[in-house]
Symmetry: C2
Subunit: 298 residues, 2 copies
């Protein structure tokens, strides 16, 4: 098993980043990850104005996956997510879906124990550890690790949990994979801009599908596939999600556009990932009853 | 039991509409409803260009609910939804979330049997009968029955099924309730603009909460409450949904804004109702574990 320490952190996805580790398909990989605030908030007295914001939203990596080439799909099996016993939440003025309101910066340390996040005395939320940021390098240029995109990145999808599988398009030799930003729990929307941000470890295994790739990242859960899109607005993200889903249905059933479009009203659920990152994220969820993996990769 | 025939149809919600029936709280009411296309499409040869579009998106009513006054809440228990065995779907050029693409008008008749919608030979979707349009009169003016709003209306929420309960703000004496536009099944988004549009019957019972009302319609399901908002864009709708949810949490726990905002990231799921009506619809879903009905009515 390869272990990548949390000191190996990047703040942007780029083909110019030097790999910190080389891994083979099928090899077990353990990534240690820092929390999204770079581990800078350990008690509630820390003022957010004192934070080094250059150390926020990091991801551990990048890893060079042997034999991964542009036009391939990198399959990421999320085998396990272990989170620390303490996480942090923040409100940041002008941030989150209600950023237009006036409110104060605030910080909250929350304890996680026995599968629950203890928000307040008597108020606890079932933990559902998930990966906020997971992606590969774009073909060129550089994408800050706080952004979501076709390369994955800061998608903040609550279904990105242990037992799921992510299909990422490969744009550059070796894929240059990185992940981080674990959440102990997050609701769809992540409305205040942070969740329970927590350090931890992620156990992964890579695989490749050669010569074909999805147009957006695809998440495989037990019963469904979800196409993960984003856009400057939620409306834009839903158009991309619906478009990608309808084209997949056309391939699956050899249907004309109109029939696939109709069926989408019955079988494609448009759901919200998050509404607070630099791009808003949506997923088009289709039951495995109605779509196969092959129709999602072209 | 009062029975209201499907011939009693309105195409807008308005305080000037004359009630077609007077009902008391707790009385059983059976509404017969026409499909959203006004029953005009009985076979696939019907050209959409020949439809009378003034007869589309109707709702059965309005009913005058005795003792309902402005500032009250009309509680609508959805006891049963019975749908016919045949429904219709359409694609309409320039309509739906992919209305920017070029495609043809098309019509499809689908059979519904034994709890399934038979879309194609071998491709069937589990039926989940729901009410597309359900609402009350606004305080003044007139709102077309194809629009969603604070008065309810064409919200197209897939969770509006038998066994659920809807809380509508009352704006005018008697509430002037109407409902229609049943769907045999609809996914979140209703992406092509239509679902399986079907005629049927809805069994309802009304109740009142005097002197308080929700700021948006609230849907009660078995385990959760959902605040149903809408806006010119999905982004606008999510801001309204998050705002209403955070204010409800502030009331529930006597929390300052910042704490309720944080908790929203963990416990308020922002979900999509539909992305294709004149206003886009979103719901903020909160488990009953975390919110009580009283905090949702003010």
């Amino acid at each position: 098993m390869k272990v990548v320490p949390r000191s190996k952190v990047i703040y942007s996805f780029s083909p110019r980043r030097k790999p910190v580790e080389y891994v083979k398909p099928q090899e077990l990989v353990l990534l240690e990850t820092e929390d999204a605030l770079g581990g800078q908030v350990k008690d509630e007295a820390v003022s957010l104005s004192k934070l080094d914001w250059a150390k926020v939203d990091g991801a551990t990596g990048p890893l060079f996956v042997k034999n991964a080439e542009p036009e391939d799909t990198l399959v990421v099996e999320i085998l396990d997510i272990r989170i620390n016993e303490e996480g942090v939440m923040v409100t940041v003025p002008k941030s989150g879906v209600l950023g237009g309101k006036r409110f104060r910066a605030s910080t909250k340390i929350v304890k996680i124990s026995r599968g629950y996040v203890n928000f307040e005395r008597g108020i606890r939320v079932k933990a559902n550890p998930m990966i906020g940021t997971i992606g590969v390098s774009p073909e060129s240029g550089s994408i800050p690790s706080g952004f979501p995109g076709r390369h994955g990145g800061n998608m903040d999808v609550k279904e990105l949990t242990a037992g799921s599988r992510l299909y990422l398009p490969v744009f550059t030799k070796g894929a240059l994979f990185a992940a981080g930003d674990l959440h102990a729990v997050q609701a769809d929307g992540e409305l205040c801009v942070s969740s329970v941000e927590v350090a931890g470890e992620v156990l992964l295994r890579f695989n490749l599908v050669k010569g074909k790739r999805p147009d957006w990242p695809v998440l495989e859960s037990r019963d469904s596939y979800a196409i993960l899109t984003c856009g400057d607005t939620l409306d834009e993200a839903t158009i991309s999600a619906a478009d990608s889903a309808v084209r997949a249905l056309m391939r699956e059933y050899d249907w004309p556009f109109e029939k696939a479009y109709m069926f989408g009203s019955l079988a494609v659920n448009l759901e919200i990932n998050q509404v607070v990152d630099p791009k808003k994220g949506v997923r088009a969820v289709i039951s495995k009853e109605f779509i196969s993996r092959d129709s999602l990769l072209t």
